[in-house]
Symmetry: C2
Subunit: 237 residues, 2 copies
DNA sequence: CGGCCGATTGAGGCTTATCAAGGCCGGTGG
DNA sequence: CCACCGGCCTTGATAAGCCTCAATCGGCCG
């Protein structure tokens, strides 16, 4: 992990914009104070890998700022995007009990700031603050539900449906500046394909088609959803 | 849920064969005692549904005996098997925070005995016994890892690979009586297809092929793995 | 013995991946 | 400032893979 760069500084957790996030929202001031002393801040530039499948798992990361994709790769290097992480999300918990290795990789899509907390510290904290464990449980449950839904979609949807769904996923992960405005997430066609579970050419064709129907509009890699409901209908299973 | 049938009786948890299961293994005697008083035993015959996607979530179930499939259905009734649950496993935790509805269905494959514990009781227990929450966290993490792997496979494997993988999944879930003996799990071709993410005809064709190569051997719905390593190689991604 | 349900097998057609060619930037260097 | 270059996107042709449909087979139960 990169060290904090010159000129930047680590703020106290109680000042942090993500202290109301899923996992930390019920933390007492005392708990936040402890975390604040234990955490290490890290900066990753766009394209840099934050953690890697198969490497030894050291702790968890809170995303403070930025955009992160979490993905797995098969032996041919083909990658598959499992989900995105945004400010307030936690990554680094998909580690195996047995081998203590990360089971997925994470990469910064844009410049990203994270707070790192090693497992040992975190586990000690949960002993004193059980609400942390409960919140983490909730977080896991949400991840699990999302992934179950995704598996169902992968198994039953056609390619156009999967692409439509991928665009909606991109929207719900990072949103837009307003209705019919471009998504706040810029991905290559290959990345959209890895998210949808198809190929970049198919993505291109489906998006061209959606464009012709004025359901979405593209300018280069920017995608705007013009007819939200129609897109949702396409992705309905 | 069915009431305990005449002649059967609810044993104390400390006598139960699954008290060393994933979630309960670190419970103190005191904790087990409390659970024992709160639990309700339920019996489900083969083919009976234990819980249903979309219905209101009331609590969790420990599988004491039997075989359970956990699945989701799309709007056309097409189902997709997410995983199996065996004695010692916990089901009923895939519930939404927002709507408090189960997000997947569970069905008894063979006659199955479960212990039911309502959420409220369970949550109160976790307050007094934080180790319960930690174990549950572990359990979730394992489920999540498994599902991530499954999603990757769905997205990248060919049909023959997915079928080979489905057979291996069946084996690791319920095992066999010994090498080259039939799997302890009997599914229809349609169910295997729902597990692999393909159609029953494709499953039939792939299994015929594996049979011809003497990698597996079938007698009706019984499947025996003759050449384990070859099967694993087929399913390698 | 007949009927029924699931498994098997084959044919056909559709969907999707692959391959290849061409176009559109954005960056670089003259 | 312009020309070139490389990467990514687009588009079309082709072929492979997969699903669907339909016919047949086989076992099980009444």
């Amino acid at each position: 992990m990169k060290k904090p760069v010159a000129g930047s500084h680590s703020i106290h957790c109680s000042e942090c914009s993500i202290k109301n996030c899923s996992v930390l929202r019920h933390c007492t001031d005392e708990c936040l104070d402890l975390i604040s002393n234990l955490k290490k801040v890290g900066y990753f530039i766009a394209g840099q890998r934050i953690l890697m499948e198969g490497s030894s798992a050291k702790g968890i990361y809170f995303i403070e700022k930025g955009q992160v994709k979490i993905y797995k790769s098969d032996s041919r290097g083909q990658e598959f995007i499992l989900r995105f992480a945004r400010p307030g999300d936690v990554i680094g918990f998909s580690a195996s009990d047995a081998t203590n290795e990360y089971l997925a990789s994470a990469l910064a899509i844009i410049d990203t700031t994270v707070c790192f907390l090693d497992y040992k510290s975190f586990m000690e904290l949960t002993e004193h603050f059980p609400e942390l464990a409960i919140e983490l449980l909730r977080f896991y449950r949400a991840e699990l539900s999302g992934l179950e839904q995704k598996a169902l979609k992968l198994a039953t949807m056609s390619v156009p449906q999967k692409v439509a769904d991928a665009i909606l996923t991109m929207e719900s992960a990072f949103g837009t500046e307003g209705p019919q405005k471009p998504l706040n997430l810029i991905l290559s066609r290959q990345d959209i394909a890895s998210l949808a579970g198809t190929t970049k050419e198919q993505v291109s064709k489906v998006i061209s088609d959606l464009n012709a129907q004025r359901i979405v509009e593209t300018h280069g890699k920017l995608i705007s959803i013009l007819q939200h409901e129609k897109l949702q209908n396409l992705a309905r299973i």
